[in-house]
């Protein structure tokens, strides 16, 4: 005899207990500390901060621990926490030209004021598994050099002085906040950039890659990629002037793209822009390419109907928390809907089979 299924509540509690035990793993192995994750899984922490839209390395490290290393789950934890925080106001725009750069490269000029700084990059490592890392040993020490006191002005600024690159119209308007207003299409560029900087790294990467393979090609050069710390200043109403409230590490990428021109305007380069929390250069470069692709109509190019040129397609599908939620919800019970479909298919089949029988007779 069938008894109505009960026990959802106990099942949930038991599942949570089991999850907690699995998270800890073999207790003979020492537990990871949040500080270890923050220091030694720094690029994972950076990704969680970037896509979680919250700059807090300790919290991101804790989220990674809680999520058992599932970065999208960790991003989700950060987002759900972030949304409960009050918004005190907007900071002053950060001055990335004054960034204390750990890394600064240009693919367009062999040298530029401030020089090229490789910084801590995987770029020229040989991807050979380093078995020595499996053994704990002395911490590696990097060789020391002279600190570079020279200013590092932005490369696109130098192009801009000669009018070689399109100037973006300056604005003192406070940009809209994607997390506080419903997104409506067509969106503005500030909203698009916000969506891209918190968008899924894999999705933005693939969209950017598709432009390189011809789906909305825009001929990008990495004018400059820089990674480093910038101070964040905020104007305090009671004081009447801006004070420094902290420091964030950012990755900024400006691409120099195909030129435009018209009868009235001489040809000049255009740009795509990427700015992401932390050391996240794959994401920042991808973001710049997709930003540039989405500007096709603004810059008078043909919209070829490529996915990366389609604002609604890109922005509506870039968020991995939305995507994973909707994707995974199909594992929730749907038996009421399925029952309705079942009845419909049975009815259609019986009608169709009756017609076949009549035709045969």
């Amino acid at each position: 005899m069938y008894v109505a299924v009960k026990g959802g509540e106990q099942a949930i509690d038991a599942a949570h207990d089991w999850l907690a035990e699995e998270r800890r793993g073999d207790v003979a192995v020492p537990e990871l500390s949040v500080a270890q994750i923050r220091e030694q899984m720094a690029l994972a922490v950076n990704r969680v901060m970037a896509e979680g839209s919250l700059y807090d390395p300790d919290l991101a490290a804790l989220a990674i621990k809680q999520a058992r290393g599932d970065l999208i789950e960790a991003i989700f934890l950060i987002r759900a926490y972030r949304t409960t925080l009050p918004r005190f106001g907007s900071a002053q725009p950060v001055e990335t030209g004054q960034m204390a750069c750990d890394r600064r490269i240009s693919a367009t000029f062999k040298d530029a004021p401030g020089g090229q700084v490789l910084g801590p990059t995987f770029d020229y490592t040989h991807r050979l598994i380093d078995f020595a890392l499996a053994a704990e040993g002395e911490p590696p020490v990097a060789r020391e050099g002279e600190a570079n006191a020279e200013a590092m002005p932005r490369v696109t600024g130098m192009l801009g002085r000669d009018g070689l690159i399109q100037q973006e119209a300056p604005s003192d308007e406070a940009p809209p906040d994607l997390t506080r207003t419903p997104l409506e299409f067509p969106a503005t560029r500030p909203l698009r950039l916000q969506a891209l900087t918190r968008g899924d790294e894999g999705f933005v990467l693939s969209m950017a890659y598709s432009t390189q393979r011809g789906y909305g090609r825009n001929h990008p050069f990495v004018g400059e990629l820089r990674i480093g710390a910038v101070p964040v200043e905020m104007e305090i109403p009671e004081l009447g002037f801006a004070v420094e409230i902290g420091e964030v590490v950012l990755t900024e990428c400006e691409t120099v793209n195909q030129f435009i021109g018209s009868k009235t305007e001489p040809p000049q380069f255009t740009r795509g822009y990427g700015l992401v929390f932390g050391q996240t250069e794959r994401k920042a470069i991808s973001m710049a390419l997709v930003d540039r692709a989405l500007r096709c109509e603004e810059l008078g190019e043909d919209n070829l109907g490529a996915p990366a040129q389609d604002e609604e397609f890109v922005i509506a599908h870039s968020d991995n928390i939305q995507a994973t939620g909707f994707l995974e919800h199909i594992k929730l019970p749907h038996y009421v809907d399925f029952q309705a479909e079942l009845e419909l298919v049975r009815k259609l089949r019986s009608e169709a089979m009756a017609e076949h029988r009549e035709a045969a007779e």
Binding site: E9, I12, T179, H329, Y335, Q339, A340
Partner: protein, 284 residues
């Protein structure tokens, strides 16, 4: 849970959601954009419904949550616990006792009354979405009351299958104006939407809220020669014997044996005089 406001959301957010709800009630069936928040449960689990419930609940309310008609499905349990923790409201499994009912995929069998609020969880609020994927286009179509595409779709169903091949999320027209997605309820439930309670629909991921005020006209789309027929399995409930309720089909062995039972567990238990749970949940 002292760190969080009553019913989790901060008052500013609730105010924003209430404004969207009021606008929705004023324009029945119209999808109002709202600044949906990230909730501590995934998109697709009812974040829109949860935000609408959070904006409606007061400390005096009595809250009921169902998923697939049942109070004990895992996600219904999870959402009920969420509000027990964050709002400390009384909860119930009895439809008649509840002042706010959050539902996924069903309308309770017990007729709702004035003063009750039915909150639906909505995955895709746009009834035209699978005919036209672009939001910019579908908003224009609603604005111009351009629903030809929907009628062509229903007509094509009839041409291909002999009848309209939509069994759930069957589109309705509200107060003669907006075509609306009733959320993925079986079309069996569509006629119940002309009711005394307020119906609110929340789509979190898609950032939309819409509403049907009490006693509004809700018409399931059809043709004169192919009128709308609400469907259900041609059986009675094996537990309570009801012949007029929506039924779940349960596979009881691997030889094709099946039984049919009410999907609305509260209604079924009530008919059998078998209430095991009355009011539940204490404030913490």
């Amino acid at each position: 849970m002292d760190d969080y406001n009553f019913a989790y959301l901060d008052e500013e957010t609730k105010r924003m959601i209430r404004r969207a709800i009021l606008k929705g009630v004023a324009i029945p069936g119209y999808q109002v954009p709202f600044a949906s928040r990230e909730m501590p449960m995934p998109y697709g689990w009812g974040t829109g419904g949860v935000q609408v419930s959070a904006a409606c609940l007061t400390p005096e309310d009595c809250f009921k949550v169902i998923d697939q008609g049942a109070d004990d499905t895992t996600n219904a349990v999870s959402i009920r616990k969420f509000f027990e923790r964050t709002a400390g409201v009384a909860t119930t499994e009895r439809t008649a006792e509840a002042t706010v009912i959050q539902t996924r995929h069903r309308i309770p069998e017990t007729a709702l009354t004035e003063g009750q609020i039915l909150v639906y969880q909505v995955p895709i609020p746009e009834p035209l979405r699978f005919l036209e994927p672009r939001e910019t286009e579908t908003r224009r179509m609603h604005a111009l009351e351009d629903y030809g595409l929907m009628h062509v779709k229903l007509y094509e169903d009839i041409a291909r299958h002999g009848e309209i091949a939509t069994a759930y999320a069957y589109p309705v027209k509200v107060e003669g104006r907006y075509v609306m997605d009733p959320s993925p309820i079986p079309k069996f439930d569509n006629p119940k939407m002309e009711m005394a309670a307020i119906q609110l629909f929340g789509a979190g991921r898609e950032q939309r809220i819409y509403a049907i005020p009490p006693y509004s006209q809700v018409v399931s789309l059809d043709f004169e020669d192919h009128p709308f027929v609400p469907g259900k399995a041609p059986h009675d409930c094996a537990l309570c014997g009801a012949s007029d309720t929506y039924l779940d089909e349960i596979i009881t062995d691997d030889a094709g044996a099946r039984m049919y039972v009410c999907s609305d567990t509260d209604y079924c238990a009530g008919r059998r005089g078998d209430y095991c749970a009355g009011r539940r949940g204490e404030a913490i």
